[in-house]
């Protein structure tokens, strides 16, 4: 029995290709397996070549996988493009009407006449996705009755579609069982309590985390790959007393969020690089007015419009330094789909606690992929709320200089302590004041408040031995492949440790210093050109780090990181 299977289906988009991924991952997740998907959408809106990849297994599945165990090619073009990704000994499934594979000594090849079955047996092109799923499911050992039950649940309400899809299951299983030997491809069924596992994308987990945190106002503007957060919330936020506005642009989105936060609500927006670039001025205002709010940035390939459907970790500099004047804020990055839920909750909590904007950096790959995860438990992160004034008019100083730098907040309509929040420099009473003394005091207040957040616990994860030859540091969605690489390196006898800061500003300097002290060499692994976290670490700690960067729009694989680790190890 394999530890896990990496399956890729490649073909024309628009023939239901993307939904093969959806159906398969849902079914696998219902089996209690771990699932991790990966897509590359084509440049065209409709049509164009595309692929979906599903990695599924009983143990932890931390990345999209390296070489493929199974490749299903729907046509020649896609066969040609993807065949090199199939591992030696892997299984090629191809539609013999569309594609003529080259002979291969090392790979197993089986024709699967998808289009012919569709044409001659099912007589309707719709269920091609379910047919493809059925073949794969059969190979992966999904019991046929399980697949049927799944299809009945999924299409039960569509009397027109259910029979077609049941026929697809039947033909798919029958064909596969008759023609494809399932040597070593069967995965187990893992019994699980109903509802204890959910299949979510990163964006869905973030949206749910925001709802769990008490989000009540969301304004956004569509942008790949963040739009589905807004879409999700527009369908659900009203159920918890919230409201969603599609604004005219990103500046308006953040302006509205600022207004709602000023009025006492938890508020957020979500965007990608181009939108974050437009928000820079309003971000500075939020810091100056000390308003709690959350900005989710699903990073995509840059610069500029860049590669909207590809992944990159290129917005860290902008998140940390994108402001005129010294206007600090907190920057967090969740590391996988499950973590998206909890780190989003922490983002709202820190925003409230420190009365500050918080940027949550996700990325295309993390936003869009599906993972089967334990059902999130909101109770694990107690919800925090901003400190409020006691309403005493005389004593009320909106920007009182306090020990931690946080001052009590007044809510319009609630507290009888009106004040004016301004983006001009102001004194403790919120009055405009340009005097050198005031500016100095307030600069310190705003800065030290944020720097204090470094001491929050729970934002650094460390893996591996207490002392190691090589220390890896990574952030955000890169954690999965790096952990997997580390585990593989350990198996090979290399001593590797890993530190993952989930808070990127303020940088957890103590933890980083300690970590770097416990390893001989440090490598920062990140998906950008310039090594943005590496630069940040060097700027704060003045200790040189090595860099392992990928900047071609694709997510790291565990293999990438492993060969880097081995390269460094062999260099000694």
């Amino acid at each position: 029995m394999p530890r896990d299977l990496t399956i890729r289906v490649a073909g024309e988009n628009g023939e239901g290709l993307l939904s093969v991924g959806v159906v398969s991952s849902q079914a696998f997740a219902r089996m209690g397996l771990n699932v991790y998907t990966f897509n590359t959408p084509p440049a065209e809106i409709k049509g164009g070549s595309s692929m979906v990849q599903i990695r599924v297994g009983e143990g932890p599945v931390r990345s999209q996988g390296d070489a493929l165990d199974i490749l299903m090619a729907w046509n020649q073009e896609n066969y040609d493009f993807h065949i090199d990704a199939l591992r030696p000994g892997g299984i090629l499934l191809y539609d013999p009407g569309e594609c003529r594979p080259k002979e291969s000594g090392s790979q197993r090849q089986y024709p699967v006449p998808l289009n012919q079955i569709i044409r001659e047996q099912i007589k309707n092109p719709r269920p091609k996705n379910v047919l493809a799923f059925a073949v794969l499911a059969s190979l992966a050992g999904v019991p046929r009755d399980f697949a049927e039950t799944f299809v009945r649940q999924k299409f039960g309400k569509r009397a027109d579609l259910l029979p077609l899809n049941l026929a697809a299951i039947q033909h798919g299983y029958e064909f596969a069982q008759a023609h494809i030997p399932a040597n070593g491809t069967h995965l187990p069924v893992v019994p699980q309590e109903e509802g204890s596992q959910v299949l979510l994308t990163g964006n869905q987990a973030i949206s749910l985390g925001a709802m769990a945190s008490g989000l009540q106002f969301f304004a956004g503007y569509p942008i790949t790959p963040a739009s589905d957060i807004m879409e999700f919330l527009s369908h659900h936020l009203y159920k918890v007393g919230g409201v969603v506005v599609q604004a005219e642009d990103e500046i308006a989105s953040l302006a509205a969020v600022i207004g709602a936060s000023f009025a006492g609500r938890k508020a957020a927006t979500a965007t990608s690089g181009p939108g974050l670039s437009l928000m820079v001025e309003e971000m500075g205002l939020a810091t100056m007015q000390e308003l709690p709010l959350v900005v989710i940035d699903a990073q995509r390939g840059g610069p500029s419009t860049g590669l909207p459907t590809r992944t990159e970790q290129g917005d860290l500099d902008l998140a940390v330094y994108g402001r005129h004047g010294d206007a600090p804020r907190i920057v967090l990055a969740p590391t996988d789909v499950e973590d998206c839920f909890y780190t989003t909750m922490q983002a709202f909590n820190l925003a409230e606690k420190y009365q500050t904007p918080v940027i949550l950096l996700s990325d295309n790959h993390l936003s869009q992929r599906s993972q089967a995860i334990p059902r999130p438990d909101p109770a694990r992160v107690p919800v925090a709320d901003r400190e409020l004034t006691d309403g005493d008019r005389e004593r009320f100083h909106r920007y009182a200089v306090t020990e931690g730098g946080v001052s009590p907040f007044a809510i319009p309509g609630v507290h009888n302590t009106p004040y004016v929040a301004t983006g001009l420099e102001h004194n403790e009473r919120a009055h405009i004041d340009y005097s050198p003394q005031t500016h100095e005091v307030m600069m310190r207040k705003r800065q030290n408040k944020i720097l204090a957040a470094e001491h929050e616990s729970g934002f650094v994860r460390r893996y591996g031995p207490a002392e190691a030859d090589l220390g890896l540091i990574c952030w955000g969605g890169t954690e999965g492949p790096v952990r997997e690489a580390m585990e593989r390196a350990e198996e090979k006898g290399l001593r590797v440790a890993l530190l993952v800061p989930k808070m990127l500003w303020p940088l957890p300097e103590r933890a980083l210093t300690q970590f770097m002290g416990s390893v001989k060499k440090t490598v920062v692994v990140e998906a950008n050109f310039s090594g943005q976290l590496a630069n940040l670490i060097q700027s704060r700690l003045c200790r040189p780090v090595l860099r392992c960067n990928r900047y071609d729009g694709m997510p790291f694989t565990a293999g990438d990181v492993l060969s880097y680790i081995e390269g460094v190890a062999n260099h000694d």
Binding site: A219, G241, A252, G259, A263, V420, T422
Partner: protein
Amino acid sequence: MTDTATAVRKASDYKSENKPTWCPGCGDFGVLSALFKAFAQLDLDPKKIVIVSGIGCSGRLPEFAAGYGLHGVHGRTLPTAMGVKLANPELTVVAVGGDGDGFAIGGGHVPHAVRRNVDITYIVMDNEVYGLTKGQPSPTTPQGMAAVKRSPSMPKMAPRGVPEMPLNMLAMVLAYGGSFIARGFSSLPNQLVDILVQGIRHPGFSFVQALSPCITFYDTYDLWKGVVEQLPADWNPQDRVRAFDLALNEEKFHLGLWHRRDRPPLHEVLGAAHDVPAPERRAALERVMDAFA
């Protein structure tokens, strides 16, 4: 509902402790005091007022008033005010700003606030110039040399006259589908008070162009006093096309309620943020998650 009779608050109750920093004689003083009187007539509780402004001389207004204020960045008053209103529809939200703030850098937000019919009152203090930055032409500065002749210090930017045709804000807001459109003059405070009272009461987006001369960089007092005129006696504020015609072709500044129509405000169509008990919220969240199990 005879507010004037039952009013318990005075205009002076809406003054803040900050002394206005405007130049003596600035038209904005008139707008500020009209706003105080309107608040008093409506007997509004200062803690339930939020005045949102951008940057400009006019944008300083919130600091001189006793309610809550959000003095944001240049040009973003309207989406900001929308956020405030949707967060708590019980607040009286007034947005104020200059002709540049509203129709240059902020001009992209006006159509959307109008079409959404966000229930706020938006006062544009129009002096046909950039006051705070000391005298550049604004989107409403008259075209050509005329402007330069009227005031030697204006416009700094256009030695050979402002090259652009000015924008016509009333025509624009009419085209956007505005539900309340009026024009007042800071030197005719009573009418302005009346307009503001009506505008604040109007359930939806109320647009008020308040002519408010800049005495320092483009002194139009004499000129404007000579050209303001009331809307004709037979004026029908429902008639959008006549209003458009007048807006485009007027040689005088007509004052009064230009247009009014009934449309439900955004917070009624879309809903607004409201408190839901924690257990209910938790249950709703679990139901949403069930769909992904």
